[in-house]
Structures are given as C-alpha cells and as structure tokens.
C-alpha cells in the first residue's frame, strides 16, 4: 500500500513528534568526554544500534503486527515487555514521553483503531517503539518497515545531536550513518525473523554505559536535549 511513504514520514526527524529533543545519550557522552570526535561517534552509533536499536526495532515490528488486530490487553502486555528491557528509569521516562507525543501526533495524521486502542490501553504514554509500531500499522506499513524506521531513528537522533554539540562536519557524520546501512538492514531483518506470538523471546540487548549516561544526564544542570 502506502507503506514506503509512511515509513519515510515516520523516520523523518521533521515529523512533529518531539524526536529532535532527544539525543539518545549522546549529549551526556559528549559532556563526559566519551565522544570527542567522529571515531568515538562511529563506535557509539555502532554499539547503540547493536543494543538499543535492535531492541526497539523488534518491539516496533511486534507492535506493527499487533496493530493489524489490536486489543488493549495485548498492548499492555507488549508495553510491559518494553518496560522489562529498559532498566534505567531515566530512559523509561524518555521513552514514554516520546511515545506519548508520537501517538498524539500520529493519531491526527493516521486516525485508526490501532492508535486509539493503544492510547486507551496505556494512557500515560506507551513506550516509544510500541507507539512507533502502532503508528506504522496505522499508516499501512509492514512490520519490517516499522523495524527499519525504529532502527534508523535510534542512530540518527544521536548523530544529529553530536553534530550540533561538537560542531562536527555534517557530511562526515552522514557518511558514518551511511556506513551503518548493512547493520541497520540486519537489525530490521532480525527483528522480523523472531516475530511470533511469544514476545518473551524478543531481543533484549542491554547497554550498561547508556544506562549510566541516561541517569547522569538527568543530574546535569545545563542540558540542550531531554535525553
């Protein structure tokens, strides 16, 4: 259907859903000196994609599949699977804030039962990948497209943030993103291979450094990004 177009809209940082306010840990990593230039940033993005990126891609794919035949109890269960995969309270808050804004925005763009039932099931804001998958379903995407959009935004947000925070050459940073294309495809593919009714086996890759950075970020007084 119109899945490709919808996927581009969902992955676009210009989607008015507040995604630009999040750096995915990059701001704190810059502040503590863990990212100082393009080499550190490349390693940061690669590691983020292999952990948080893979997990969000799988949750988004599962949510997209669920969106085709939504039920409130099932949304709550999938949201609980996301909760169990995010040990940092700061990251859970950031994820729910982004999810809430995404649902609010996309319900106006793609009115649908999928998004209405998710908003009713998790009124305080579903986790971001769950919201993204539901929006993707509402927009006519396949689970693989939802996974791609989720994996893509998991690295573009910190990359853009790093350009702004360190004054890096934006062309060079886009080259780093382009280099991640095979890993990104693999992440989306992996997310769909595991598709099953049993969400317990979905990927759960942890990134202990991202957890520490997220908690530290909340304690930092001057911040440009929410997370």
């Amino acid at each position: 259907m119109h899945g490709d177009m919808a996927m581009l809209l969902l992955a676009d940082s210009r989607l008015p859903a507040g995604g630009h306010a999040h750096s995915g840990g990059a701001e704190e990593a810059v502040r503590v000196g863990a990212i100082t230039g393009p080499e550190d940033l490349a390693r940061f993005l690669r590691g983020r994609l292999a952990t948080a990126g893979v997990v969000t891609a799988a949750l988004a794919a599962a949510a997209c599949e669920l969106g085709a035949d939504p039920a409130q109890e099932r949304w709550r269960r999938l949201d609980a699977e996301a909760d169990a995969r995010i040990s940092s309270p700061a990251q859970r808050d950031a994820s729910r804030t982004q999810g809430r804004l995404l649902v609010r925005t996309t319900r106006r763009i793609w009115p649908s039962e999928a998004l209405d039932s998710l908003a009713a099931a998790v009124p305080d804001g579903a986790h971001h990948p769950v919201a993204l998958g539901a929006a993707a379903a509402a927009a006519g995407c396949e689970p693989r497209q939802a996974a791609l959009a989720a994996a893509y935004t998991s690295v573009t947000a910190p990359a853009t943030a790093a350009v702004r925070l360190l004054g890096l050459d934006p062309v060079l940073v886009h080259r780093l993103l382009a280099d991640l294309a095979p890993a990104l495809n693999d992440a989306a593919h992996e997310a769909c291979v595991i598709q099953a009714d049993d969400w317990s086996s979905l990927p759960a890759h942890a990134a202990p450094a991202l957890d520490l950075l997220a908690e530290q970020h909340l304690r930092t007084e001057v911040r440009l990004f929410v997370s």
């Binding site: 863990a34 993005l45 590691g47 040990s87 890759h205």
Partner: protein, 218 residues
C-alpha cells in the same frame, strides 16, 4: 535442604544451613560443555548459592544454563564468583529466574573480559526474570563482538561488567556514582549495574549499590 545433586565438573557442597557452594572439580567450561544448574527454593525457605572460585570459560563453544524458581516468601541469594572470558571462548549463558509474588532475591553476575592482558573471548548471555507471570527484567549482554567492543554506548573502556538484581521490600530510590547506578525497575525490583576496569573495582561498585538498594544488607 531437600535435594542436592550434582555431577562433575560442577559439584555442589553444603557449607552451612541453607548455604551451598559450587565447586569446579575440572577446568572449564570448555568447548562442547553444557553446564546446567537448577535451583528450587520452596516457599518460606532460604538458600544461598556461592562458588569457591571464579569460572574460567575456555576456548570453544560452551553453554551454561541456570534455571531458578523461588517460591512465595522464600529467599534466594545467588552470588558466585565472576566468569572470566578467556581468549577464544564462545560462551552462551541463559538464566531463567521465576519468582512467586513476595519472593526475595539477590542475584549477582559478573563478567570479566579476558584474563590480565588477554583479549576477551566471546559471550552472549541472556537473563530473564519473571515475577508472577509478568516480566521484571530481560537483559542480554554481548561481549567480544565487533559491534559493541569499545563502544562508548555499551561498555566504554571497561574490562568488566556486572549487575545485581534485588527484589523484596526495597526503597524505590535511584543512586549514581562513578561506573555504578542503582536503578529501580518498572516492576517490583531494583537493578544495580556497574562497569569497571578490574574485578576488585567492579565488586566494590556493586557492593556500594547493593547496600543502597537494600539497606538491610550488612
């Protein structure tokens, strides 16, 4: 203690009332090995599982599977010494922890990326903790994988990673120090998560967090 059964290379020794030590009576795990440990803690009972020494994962594909069930009002403390990933190892760890409501657990795991001065072997671990049929914590760790090695997002420059899951009647407070965070989970539990350059520092950081997560700890 109702049942205590083991076969070499993993031997269980009762070392006190409700206390068991794991003793490795052979080197390993080595390629081809599959170690399995099953722990059942009956309601209203207490068990502590320790090990006498760290585990050295040796070259080749090996597996370690731990299944633990903790009954209502029962308490389990699982705190073996670290697993050291020797160069060339490919260790798969699967831990499944099933808790009844009100069960108290202290579950510590530590991974060391190679012996002193050695490149790390590979490890893929998966930890699933379920409380009353609701997932509390699902966490996979990849070590020795080019995608995560040296990434400031995953382990940074650390050479060891560790965590302790605590459940029970705990304060829902966050704490943070250099390389260690006390993280109240969405469900009824707290994760202490730490990164460090060496095992001594890792243990010090975890113990700092454990005492803040559970103020009744000594």
């Amino acid at each position: 203690m109702e049942t205590l059964r083991s076969d070499p290379p993993l031997t269980l020794r009762q070392t006190g009332p409700g206390v068991v030590h794991l003793v490795s009576t052979a080197a390993g795990p080595l390629g081809g090995d599959h170690f399995e440990l099953t722990i059942d803690v009956a309601p209203h009972t207490t068990l502590a599982v320790h090990s006498v020494a760290s585990t050295l994962a040796l070259p080749g594909l090996s597996r370690l599977t731990v299944t633990a069930r903790v009954g209502a009002r029962a308490a389990l403390r699982y705190s073996p010494e670290p697993i050291v990933l020797a160069a060339g190892c490919d260790l798969r760890v699967a831990v499944r922890l099933t808790l009844a409501p009100g069960a108290t657990v202290f579950w510590r795991e530590e991974l060391v990326f190679g012996r002193y001065g050695e490149a790390s072997g590979r490890c893929h671990s998966r930890f699933d903790a379920i409380v009353d049929d609701v997932p509390l914590l699902r966490q996979e760790l990849l070590v020795g994988d080019p995608a995560v090695d040296d990434s400031p997002a995953v382990y940074g420059s650390a050479r060891c990673v560790g965590s302790t899951l605590l459940t029970g009647d705990l304060p829902r407070e966050r704490h943070l120090a250099d390389g260690c965070a006390v993280l109240p989970l969405a469900g009824p539990g707290t994760l202490v998560s730490a990164l460090a350059a060496d095992t001594v520092e890792l243990r010090r950081r975890l113990e700092w967090g454990e005492r803040l997560a559970d103020k009744s700890l000594p």
